[in-house]
Point group: D2
Chain length 377, copies 4
Amino acid sequence: MSKALNIGMVGYGFMARAHSNAWADVAHFFDTGYRPVLKAAAARNASKLRHFAGMWGYESIESDWRTLVGRKDIDAIDICVPNDLHAEIAIAAAKAGKMVLCEKPLARSEAEGVPMVEAVEKARVPNMVWYNYRRVPAVSLVKELVAKGKIGRVFHYRAKFLQDWTISPEVPQGGAGTWRLDVDAAGSGVTGDLIAHCLDTAIWINGSIASLTAMTETFIKERKHVITGEVQKVGIDDAAAVLTRFQNGSLGTFESTRYARGHKALYTLEINGEHGSFAWDLHDMNRLQWFDHKVDGQLRGWSSVLVTDGDHPYLGKWWVPGLIIGYEHSFIHQVADFLEGLNTGRPAAPTFRDALETTRVCDAIIASGKSGQWVNL
Amino acid sequence: MSKALNIGMVGYGFMARAHSNAWADVAHFFDTGYRPVLKAAAARNASKLRHFAGMWGYESIESDWRTLVGRKDIDAIDICVPNDLHAEIAIAAAKAGKMVLCEKPLARSEAEGVPMVEAVEKARVPNMVWYNYRRVPAVSLVKELVAKGKIGRVFHYRAKFLQDWTISPEVPQGGAGTWRLDVDAAGSGVTGDLIAHCLDTAIWINGSIASLTAMTETFIKERKHVITGEVQKVGIDDAAAVLTRFQNGSLGTFESTRYARGHKALYTLEINGEHGSFAWDLHDMNRLQWFDHKVDGQLRGWSSVLVTDGDHPYLGKWWVPGLIIGYEHSFIHQVADFLEGLNTGRPAAPTFRDALETTRVCDAIIASGKSGQWVNL
Amino acid sequence: MSKALNIGMVGYGFMARAHSNAWADVAHFFDTGYRPVLKAAAARNASKLRHFAGMWGYESIESDWRTLVGRKDIDAIDICVPNDLHAEIAIAAAKAGKMVLCEKPLARSEAEGVPMVEAVEKARVPNMVWYNYRRVPAVSLVKELVAKGKIGRVFHYRAKFLQDWTISPEVPQGGAGTWRLDVDAAGSGVTGDLIAHCLDTAIWINGSIASLTAMTETFIKERKHVITGEVQKVGIDDAAAVLTRFQNGSLGTFESTRYARGHKALYTLEINGEHGSFAWDLHDMNRLQWFDHKVDGQLRGWSSVLVTDGDHPYLGKWWVPGLIIGYEHSFIHQVADFLEGLNTGRPAAPTFRDALETTRVCDAIIASGKSGQWVNL
Amino acid sequence: MSKALNIGMVGYGFMARAHSNAWADVAHFFDTGYRPVLKAAAARNASKLRHFAGMWGYESIESDWRTLVGRKDIDAIDICVPNDLHAEIAIAAAKAGKMVLCEKPLARSEAEGVPMVEAVEKARVPNMVWYNYRRVPAVSLVKELVAKGKIGRVFHYRAKFLQDWTISPEVPQGGAGTWRLDVDAAGSGVTGDLIAHCLDTAIWINGSIASLTAMTETFIKERKHVITGEVQKVGIDDAAAVLTRFQNGSLGTFESTRYARGHKALYTLEINGEHGSFAWDLHDMNRLQWFDHKVDGQLRGWSSVLVTDGDHPYLGKWWVPGLIIGYEHSFIHQVADFLEGLNTGRPAAPTFRDALETTRVCDAIIASGKSGQWVNL
């Protein structure tokens, strides 16, 4: 008989929906021994919270996350609020002995993240950061195969995350919908929001980054605040490009922007090794591009592998070959692994500590963008 | 306050999972005023049924669908069993005053389907057949735009549904997993299983078919029965190709096979009109290929539209631009429309009557495959 | 030292340019022992002929092809005029002891083609029909590999040739530029012009066709004659679709139209066998799509092979890997093989006799399009 | 009547073939008033030179380029030898009053290139550097449309040139076939060979680069010399990645390597502007990817424009829509423009002076790769 796991959600926005869906669906497909229960949701905006809780069937709501953290009937706190609130909530939740799941990035800076790591480790509570793209099956497959040595020595890793939603100077900053443009709430722009995803995957697959240099830019220097209407300086990086050296000797390039017209959420990655290469992009997330140098010459080429077969990561739990899954499935997989980790005692990654490394690299990008210097990590 | 709708599921297989998921998820995303409840599931195999019901949280189980149909607390019967059982269950459910949702094809033949249509119409119960691909957003968008005259006069419609899972002569026929190869259970092979999907979409988008000629083939003439091990004649069509004339004067080509090595569930469609063309395929179901002849010449080309924006059909309910959805979402959309239809009194299509036309065309394909003659519809 | 081969060209249009280019370029890349010389060109339109001959450096011109055929200094006659003139010229050239190279299709009908075959065979002159697509390297590679058994038993062959240039009713028929719409000059519409290409390749790769049924259509029933302005009935097939059974038991589908908006010269072919599949299209002619079922399951997929390596057919003569070739190279390759055939005494295919089979199948398509019956070949 | 232009070719390798083909073919397609004549070829290796001259029909050969430069009957010197020989030959040719066409890069360094520019300008001889990719029609179209303001303010430019042919440590350096790995002959590795192409196009389309920082790497530190067999230090950059700021305020990223398994000559470029974006790659060089933000939302997408229509740059001279051209056509177009420039007096770009800017940026890349500092240009 599966065991109930009572979830306390903080937030009601886009990420809160993606996480709620994962908690609600996981037990229909993955037999982990746990049955998540959408126990309570907390937020200050009462009418939005009520609507959210109603759609998802949360059993109760709280207007203050502190009350939620204090409730005895909550097993895990899921943090889906702007970055500037992560630390306080996570530390309080850990102190209250709750499992803590925090939306990425862990924190606005390494300095802010360190006490979070200390808190969950001191409290010995299961903890995880929602770098969901690791659990896209095609990406998981790259990780598995690179780890097995399929491509041999790695020479290059490159990743981009391109969007185009802030090109208009009319887009405001601040508030619920556009806090990602407000440096106080977000910590940084595309670096913490998008490159952080690229870095998490890169470090997972290709190991730690040894050094980097970066270029950052803010194309639109002033925007109105969404609530006050006041024209403010823009403090975030609209775009960032990074050159890196990995500890394994390979070279990396990373780029992100919200000014690449025509791209919505184009997270792409490619890794080139001695014996082969993999490439993937989020818009066609069920496909893995694979070049196998060992194939006989005349028929050597890039294969477009439709990652929907039963022997592909996670796919045995879904439909039949040829039928694709979507964005939200990466969250369901992450929850499945988290629950599996509770069973086995081997925590699902990335933990808070794992995610701290990504935040450290983000800090280095912002610093290098200002100094123009290489930074050793 | 949303109203409960109690679902009685018949079956526990692949389709029962896809439908259950749709019932379970729909209210998290679509505010239709209804809240489906997974009330009971029925099947003869008790252990498989128990596992299925446990994963999905069905409140109770029944070993006989007749008992399920007779239960007062069931509002809708959802039929997810082999084709030879559709008619009896559907007619009984209609007589019991239940809403009836039947997996496609409606029946093994038009003759078998007619009393089903009569039963639901006589009982005046809401009814629907699960031709789910209409609700893939890119396909829905084609329907909308063709109906608005975006491509003008239509010249060509072509569709294929290619698979490769029965190439080995070792694949058996009959039983739970391979009933689709057993002509008694299935009625036909690729015609009723796959071309039926193509026909449903084609008729919806491009209108009725006036006449057709077909070629059918059974490549592997004998297979073992999965349970008895007895070598039997194969009665289904392994492959079928069809030439059609639509009532609007356009030409159609349809093909399906389970012997196209490398294709898993490659449903493709293309429609060519005076002013433009659309093309789509299921493996990349979130993309719509669109050629607009009205674009200035130098930059005229096929556009790959990523159908994930808020103004695309159904997508406003999901995530944000660039983040794709999967196969099962087509079922969620169909349920959403079904529930909406209950609200508005305008039934969601395809109804049993709509689906009967598709079955009639399937009959004509099988007949023409034998006679070599054109058949008028 | 290479031997001169004096070419006598009949015509000055699009095809005459493609052939002239092949004759002019071949010796720069292929060391066949022959050096084609653009000796003379013949046509009735003196000003156009002079311009054509000037651009290509033909040494002389003739206003009558009969004079050209009669010239002692001409070794080979290359026929690049409308289909209704093929037979007379080819037969006269053969009688005059010239090698004869004829643009496809061989003739407007099998009946017209038979005496052509007889003439070249009686005269024992080298002869060839310009079905150039066989010599696209990716297509040649498919032929080689299918012949070697790489894909095992073949189940399906499908080909299409889609264009969109006659959709407007304002396009006239007849004359130099639009004789392809004039049934008297062309013999048929898309069947002889485009499906003929598909058939030539199909028969070469997959063997003879045993039987077929076809649907043909003329969408625009009347057009003005380009010269007289008179409104005439359109006699050609604007579109044709064909179902075939090959002698090897595989099924074929063929389709062509000039009403597929967005497609310019989209010749596509696909062949599905037990162990793998190939697909190719002319718009991306340097790429071969290849599915190898023998690849380990997790990484099985369609490979996009860029056919530009030194071990690919013909490519060793061109540039370096990754650098593509174009449409006209297929003609250069055909000339290279023709010259090689002169050397070896093993004539390059397709000869007139080979091409007669394609014309026979074209006849059957037109007949079946009228009768609605299957035709045995 | 067209005027003869006598070409004196220095070299017989891959580039000499591509250029010879351009000279030989141009007058068949472009009516510029000039008729290039392959007058003489010069090189030290007599047997290779004889074979080369024989294939292409050069009228005579010379064992020393100095003799060639001194010949009265030569109008233009075409330099197709390793980079370390460019300067001496070009300067001598200019002094002799010859037109000079030099394979790219202009020189191994800006310092070496300056006297070359001075020589041709002092002698007032037509001069050009063979950055052929400007004349790929799709690339030319990007230039035209960006210049017309089609995409508005530019935010990003990114280019890569990826190869994989030096991954094996067994590849030697030095000599005729592998001089590109010898820093003395080549000046640099991928920077001068491949990034130089990317830079030439980028500066042409998006204007000058203001500053940059770069990372360079030599993966394989020692190689055998191809002739002596001696193990030597490798002095070239195997890979380079660059971050740039353009003078127009946009950001650039450039990367090149010969260690990207699976890529042969993958030159890709993308430019993102306020109203749209273009992307292109050399492997599919006839296609231009285009995103038009002004298209109505539901059908907005990336268009794959097949650049083969009569109204596309250069294409009116070739075949018919849908029929592609190849790599060598870019050289034919460059020759056509060069000849046109002789007619009009407006020299075809890039001239030596234009190309000097690219070499200056290459120098900065190599310097920054060593220093780790940003370099202002």
